[in-house]
Amino acid sequence: MNIMKTIHIFYGRSEVSEGEASRPQLLKNWLRFVCSVLLIILFMFFLAPWLQKVPSIRTLSRYIEESGIDAGAVYYTEVEEVGDADLAVRNTFRFYLPKK
C-alpha cells in the first residue's frame, strides 16, 4: 500500500484517484503542520523562558513555580488556595467581626 493510499484511508476519504494530483498540496499541508509544531516548541522552550529575564515576570514566575499554584485554572473549585482563602475569611467573619 503506498503512502498516499494510507493517508486517504486515515482521513476517511473514499476517492484515491486524485492522489497523485494532490501530492504537492498534501506535502505543503504537512509542512505547515510541522512548522506550526516547531513554532510552539520555539515559544515553549525559547521565547517564553527568554521573556522571564524581565525582572517582574521572573519574580512572579519563580513564585508560581515554588508555590505550585495553578495559574491557568478557570474556576474557583480548581484552585486549592481559593478553598483556603474561603475558609479563613469565613472563620474570620464568624469569630471576629460580630464581636470585635
Binding site: 504537512w30 522571564q52 517582574s56 519574580t59 513564585y63 508555590s67 488556595e81 475558609l87
Partner: protein
C-alpha cells in the same frame, strides 16, 4: 456554536414552531447534557456522602471551639487560631483514601519541564531522586518558618502580657503572625515537592477515555442511532488524544508559570490540525462542541454555590455583584452603540468574559446566547492574553504604589479574568491579598449562574425578535436553551444541600467532596474536549473575519479599563470608608 440559527433582522428572524414533544427528552442534545451531567453528580454523591471523614463533626467542633476561645482572648487572629483554622481545613472528603484513588483515575497528565515522558510515567527511583533533590529547599524553608514562628510567638506573648490592650504590641504581633503565615505557606509548598511518588498515568488515561467514550455515545445512540454511536467512539479517541496533548502543553513548567491553561492549547492544537493537515473524517463524528460544553456546564452549575456570595460580607457583594453587572451591561451597550460590533453574540461573550471571570464565563454566556464557535474562540483568546499581562502587571503596581493588600486583592479579584491567575497574583503579594482576591473572585464565579440565565432569557425574549415583535411565553420556552435549566437546577440543589449541611460540613462534603473530588475533574475534561472540537472545526480565515477592524480588542480594552477604575473605586469605598473593620480583621 449554533450553526442552525438564522441571522437576526427584520426579514430573517428566528422563527420556531411553538411546540415541544415528549421525545425531546431523549432526542435533544440539551436534555442529554442534563441527564449525563446529573448522572455524574448522583454518582459523586453516592460515593462521597456515605463516607465522611472520620469523626468529622467532633473534629470540626473541636477546631471551632479553639477558634472561638482565641477570638475571645485576643483582638487579632492568634497563632493558635490559625492552627485551629488549618486543622479545620484538613477535614474534607478529598483527603480520604477513596477520593485519592478517584483522583488518580480522572487526573490529567502531570506537570513536566523538559522531559515530556514524566507527564505520564515516573519510576519510584526517579521520584525518590526528585524528592531528594527538593529536600535542601524544604529544609531552608522549614528553618525560616521556624524562625518566623518563634518571632510570632514572642510578639504574641508580649501582646498577651499587656492583656492585648496595647495597640502597638498587638499590631507588632499581627504583623509577625502574618510573616509566619507567609513562611509557612512556602514551607508547605516545598514539603509537597519532597514527597514525590512514582506513577504511571497511561493506564488511567486509557480507562478514562473508554469510560467517557461510552458515556457520551449513550446520548448519541438515542439521538442519532446505533450507527452514529459506533462511528462516534473511534472519533472520540482522536479528540481525546488531542485533549491529552492540550493538557500536556498546559502542564509544561514555563507555560504553567505564564498561566496558559488547557483552553488555549486545546483550541490551538485543534486549529493547527484542521488548518494544516485537515481534520480526519472519522474524527469529525466526535467533534461535538455543544454536546461537551452543555454537559460540562450542567456540572459547572453544581459548583455555583450561592451560599458562597456572603463569604466576605457586604463589600464582596458590592465589588463582585454590583460592579460586575454594571461593567457587563455598559460594555455590551458600548459595543453595540459606539463601537458598533458586527455581532451582538460576540459582543456579549467578550463583555461577559472580561467583566465576570474569563473562560468559564465566556463558555456559559456563549452557550446561553448561542454565540458561534469562532466568537467563543476569540473571546477566550483575548481573555487569556490579558489575564497573563494583568497577572504580572497588577501586583507590580500594587507593590510599587504601596497600596493596602486588602484593597489590592479586591482590585485584582474583581478585574483579572482567570481564577488561577488571581490566586497566583494575590498569594505573590501576601496572605491578606490572597484571601481578599480569591474570595472576591469566587463570589464573582458564582455570578455566572445569574448571568447565563439572564442572557439566555434576554436572548430568547428580546434579542432574537424583530423590532416591535412580541414573543409569547411558550415561544420563549421553545427557544430557551434547555440545558440552562439543568445548569440552574444543579446550582439550586447543591446550594440548598450546602446550606442544609451547614457551612463547615458543606465545605467538607460538597465543596471539598463531590465537587472538587469528583465532578470538577469531569467538567475540566469536557470543556477541554469542547475546545479541541472548536479548533478542529474552525477555519483560520473565518476567525480572522471576526477580528476585522480590531473591534473585539477595542471592546475588551475599553471595557477592562472601565472595570479597573470602577472596581478600584468601589473596593476603596467598601473596604476603607464603609467597612474598615472588615479590612482590619482580614
Amino acid at each position: 456554536m449554533a450553526e442552525e440559527q438564522k441571522p437576526v433582522g427584520s426579514a430573517e428572524v428566528v422563527i420556531d414552531k411553538a411546540e415541544t414533544k415528549l421525545s425531546d427528552l431523549w432526542k435533544l442534545e440539551d436534555y442529554w447534557a442534563i441527564w449525563l451531567g446529573f448522572l455524574i453528580l448522583v454518582v459523586g454523591m453516592a460515593i462521597f456522602f456515605p463516607r465522611p471523614p472520620e469523626n468529622m463533626q467532633e473534629n470540626i467542633a473541636k477546631a471551632e471551639q479553639a477558634m472561638e476561645a482565641e477570638a475571645a482572648r485576643a483582638p487579632f487572629k492568634t497563632i493558635e487560631w490559625h492552627k485551629a483554622n488549618d486543622a479545620k481545613g484538613k477535614i474534607k472528603g478529598t483527603s480520604q483514601g477513596y477520593a485519592k484513588k478517584i483522583k488518580k483515575f480522572v487526573s490529567k497528565p502531570k506537570g513536566w519541564k523538559t522531559s515530556i515522558g514524566t507527564a505520564f510515567i515516573m519510576s519510584k527511583e526517579d521520584a525518590a531522586a526528585k524528592g531528594e533533590k527538593a529536600v535542601p529547599k524544604y529544609e531552608a524553608a522549614k528553618a525560616k518558618e521556624g524562625e518566623a514562628l518563634a518571632a510570632a510567638t514572642a510578639a504574641q506573648a508580649a501582646a498577651a502580657a499587656a492583656g492585648f490592650s496595647n495597640a502597638e504590641l498587638n499590631n507588632t504581633a499581627k504583623e509577625a503572625i502574618l510573616d509566619w503565615r507567609g513562611a509557612k505557606r512556602k514551607a508547605s509548598s516545598a514539603k509537597k515537592k519532597t514527597a514525590a511518588k512514582g506513577y504511571n498515568q497511561i493506564g488511567f488515561l486509557i480507562g478514562l477515555c473508554a469510560v467517557m467514550a461510552i458515556f457520551f455515545s449513550i446520548g448519541i445512540f438515542f439521538m442519532k442511532g446505533g450507527g452514529e454511536a459506533a462511528k462516534f467512539i473511534p472519533g472520540f479517541v482522536g479528540v481525546f488524544i488531542v485533549a491529552v496533548v492540550a493538557y500536556l502543553a498546559a502542564g509544561q513548567a514555563t507555560m504553567k508559570e505564564y498561566g496558559i491553561g488547557y483552553a488555549a492549547w486545546a483550541i490551538l492544537f485543534g486549529l493547527i490540525i484542521s488548518n494544516t493537515i485537515g481534520t480526519p473524517k472519522w474524527m469529525l463524528k466526535a467533534v461535538q462542541t455543544e454536546y461537551y460544553i452543555k454537559t460540562g456546564l450542567v456540572l459547572l452549575g453544581a459548583e455555583i454555590l450561592f451560599g458562597k456570595i456572603l463569604s466576605i460580607g457586604v463589600p464582596g457583594i458590592f465589588v463582585a455583584w454590583v460592579v460586575t453587572p454594571i461593567v457587563l451591561i455598559s460594555t455590551f451597550i458600548f459595543g453595540q452603540k459606539v463601537i458598533k460590533m458586527p455581532s451582538p453574540t460576540l459582543n456579549m461573550t467578550i463583555s461577559a468574559d472580561m467583566s465576570v471571570c474569563g473562560v468559564s464565563a465566556a463558555i456559559a454566556t456563549a452557550a446561553a446566547c448561542r454565540a458561534k464557535k469562532e466568537e467563543l474562540t476569540l473571546a477566550v483568546g483575548l481573555s487569556l492574553v490579558f489575564t497573563s499581562i494583568m497577572m504580572i502587571v497588577m501586583p507590580a503596581i500594587i507593590k510599587g504604589t504601596g497600596m493596602d493588600h486588602v484593597l489590592g486583592g479586591a482590585w485584582m479579584g474583581g478585574t483579572i479574568d482567570a481564577t488561577g491567575a488571581v490566586a497566583a497574583a494575590g498569594a505573590f503579594l501576601s496572605e491578606r491579598a490572597l484571601y481578599t482576591a480569591a474570595t472576591i473572585k469566587m463570589i464573582q464565579n458564582v455570578l455566572i449562574g445569574v448571568i447565563a440565565f439572564g442572557v439566555a432569557v434576554y436572548w430568547c425574549a428580546k434579542y432574537e425578535c424583530a423590532p416591535g415583535q412580541k414573543v409569547s411565553p411558550i415561544e420563549i420556552w421553545v427557544r430557551f436553551p434547555k440545558f440552562v435549566i439543568g445548569f440552574i437546577v444543579a446550582s439550586i440543589i447543591f446550594s440548598m444541600m450546602y446550606a442544609n449541611m451547614g457551612e463547615s460540613v458543606g465545605a467538607a462534603m460538597i465543596d471539598h467532596g463531590v465537587l472538587r473530588g469528583f465532578s470538577k475533574n469531569f467538567r475540566g475534561w469536557f470543556f477541554c474536549l469542547a475546545f479541541v472540537s472548536i479548533g478542529l472545526a474552525t477555519n483560520f480565515r473565518e476567525l480572522g473575519s471576526y477580528f476585522k477592524g480590531g473591534k473585539p480588542l477595542i471592546l475588551y480594552v475599553c471595557g477592562q479599563s472601565f472595570n479597573l477604575v470602577l472596581t478600584l473605586v468601589m473596593a476603596y469605598i467598601m473596604f476603607f470608608k464603609v467597612f474598615p473593620q472588615i479590612t482590619a480583621a482580614i
